[in-house]
């Protein structure tokens, strides 16, 4: 195209020259834009073909096929699906298994996919559990940091909702996982914290109070899928009250968590 432009320029009138310049300029600007917008990673198809679905899910119909050797841009990722655009401008969703059969700079691509190994090795985790705390309902959130695959430190915050009183509890735990590489991995835990109790308004003599607690417990972490796990645990608490007797409370909880 540029060759034809240069060979024909000398016979052009000024107005036509201006028009050609404008076209060339607009092409350059457009190219600049598409480069800026096309800051996406490009890969070429190594599989016989790449199938594009209309949506990010197994059930969405395949509407377009990109042949081997063609280049596609990866626009975004949602769970295990990638939105890609081919040279002709067709956009569609491709699953991870097919995307891994593309090449970039002559090398295969591997997309991050959390698996059971990450379940063992991940540093951070956090989750939500609910259950029974001495007859009351409890909802807890926690975040944990692994010092090594076996030992982790966790911070917990809980809301306790009972018939006679409500409350909050915060605690710090040390967790020991004996077989972190198992899909169903048991753990033991020790910890301490504080509990704040507010008796319900219908109870006349109640008084707000804050006490220290210590606990020991055990449970299991069960790897489910990707970054997702299930967790169930039992803890036995002792509440150091200002009265003569310390209170003992048993807690059962189940919930889900993520690791990062």
């Amino acid at each position: 195209m540029s060759e034809r432009n240069t060979t024909t320029t000398h016979s052009m009138s000024p107005s036509r020259l201006l028009a050609v310049l404008a076209v060339l300029l607009s092409h350059t600007v457009a190219a600049g834009f598409s480069w800026a917008a096309g800051d996406y990673h490009t890969v070429s198809v190594a599989d016989p073909y790449l199938e594009m679905h209309t949506g990010p899910g197994r059930g969405y119909p395949k509407f377009h096929v990109v042949d081997r050797g063609e280049v596609v841009e990866i626009i975004k990722r949602r769970t295990d699906w990638f939105l890609v655009r081919d040279a002709g401008g067709a956009e569609g969703w491709v699953d991870r298994a097919q995307m891994e059969l593309t090449v970039s700079d002559g090398r295969n691509i591997e997309f991050a996919d959390a698996g059971q190994q990450d379940f063992t090795d991940a540093r951070w985790e956090g989750g939500v559990l609910a259950g029974d705390f001495g007859g009351a309902n409890i909802i807890s959130v926690y975040t944990g940091y692994s010092l090594n695959p076996n030992v982790a430190v966790e911070v917990w915050g809980s809301q306790i909702l009972g018939n006679f009183s409500n409350g909050w509890m915060g605690s710090v735990n040390v967790v020991h996982e004996t077989w972190p590489e198992w899909r169903i991995s048991p753990f033991f835990t020790l910890g301490a914290g504080a509990i704040h109790t507010e008796p319900k308004s219908t109870i006349v003599q109640g008084e707000d109070r804050t006490d220290q607690v210590a606990h020991a417990g055990a449970g299991v972490r069960i790897y489910a899928t990707r970054r997702f796990m299930l967790r169930a645990e039992y803890k036995s608490y002792v509440v150091f009250t200002s009265r003569d007797d310390n209170e003992e409370v048993e807690e059962w909880k189940v919930g889900f968590a993520f690791f990062f």
Binding site: G55, G59, K76, F111, P149, F188, S236, E248
Partner: protein
């Protein structure tokens, strides 16, 4: 009573300490070495496009925009049992784990009206203005039960999904926090690949003895929302 806890505590210590030691012995038995032992690759056959000798993991996740989170706001109508219906509004945050499964947290607020009794008798109100505020939070799981597409005219298709949600949380109403179970269903309509409209129905259930006898109340909410994937 206390001794039970103490025994448990003391019994745990040697177990925990002993097992920490086990981690160190793991390598002695070669348990941690499953990753190696890939056989040396053969010479590539002529038709093979990919050279099998290429080491994988060379490109570990090129920088790709991942959009697994969904955040947004909603507004609608909530029927608070015995206290009439009123505006409800709130916010939601979801994380999509797989194409089907997501976790979701919502917070919302509404205001209770008058009970029929208060309306008819014209007497003293049961609750103060402050206690009529109804706020909730909820943490739960959702599942895209029926993903699909809708078509507008001949040339436009939008991705949609009918999903179920269920979760646990707490409701503050009438000066008290109550453990709340939440179930519902919703419809997600993706206007673009990143912006979605929602129509949701939720039932917030909790036990209360506010009007005399203890009962489970159903507080049904219908709302419209908008979310953005990021």
């Amino acid at each position: 009573m206390e001794s039970r806890f103490r025994v448990l505590f003391l019994a745990m210590l040697p177990v925990v300490l002993g097992l920490s030691g086990c981690a160190a012995t793991k390598n002695l038995f070669g348990m941690g070495e499953e990753e190696q032992a890939l056989p040396p690759a053969e010479a590539p056959s002529p038709e093979q496009v990919i050279d099998p000798q290429v080491e994988r993991r060379d490109i570990r996740e090129p920088k790709i925009d991942t959009e697994n989170f969904e955040i947004g706001a909603f507004a609608g109508v909530m029927s608070i049992e015995d206290f009439g219906s009123d505006l409800v509004y709130g916010a939601r945050l979801s994380y999509h784990i797989t194409e089907g499964l997501f976790v979701e947290g919502t917070v919302g607020q509404s205001e209770a009206g008058l009970t029929s009794f208060e309306e008819l008798s014209g007497g003293a109100p049961i609750l103060s203005e402050e206690d009529r505020e109804f706020t909730y939070y909820n943490l739960g799981l959702g599942y895209n039960l029926f993903p699909g597409e809708v078509f507008l005219g001949e040339g436009r298709a939008f991705n949609t999904s009918l999903y179920l949600v269920g979760g646990l949380g707490s409701t503050r109403f009438a000066g008290d926090d109550r453990f709340t179970v939440n179930v519902g269903a919703g419809y997600r309509f993706l206007v673009t690949d990143s912006i979605a409209l929602h129509l949701d129905f939720r039932d917030h259930m909790f036990d209360t003895d506010l009007l005399g006898t203890e009962k489970t109340v159903h507080n049904v909410e219908a709302h419209l929302g908008m979310t953005v994937f990021f």
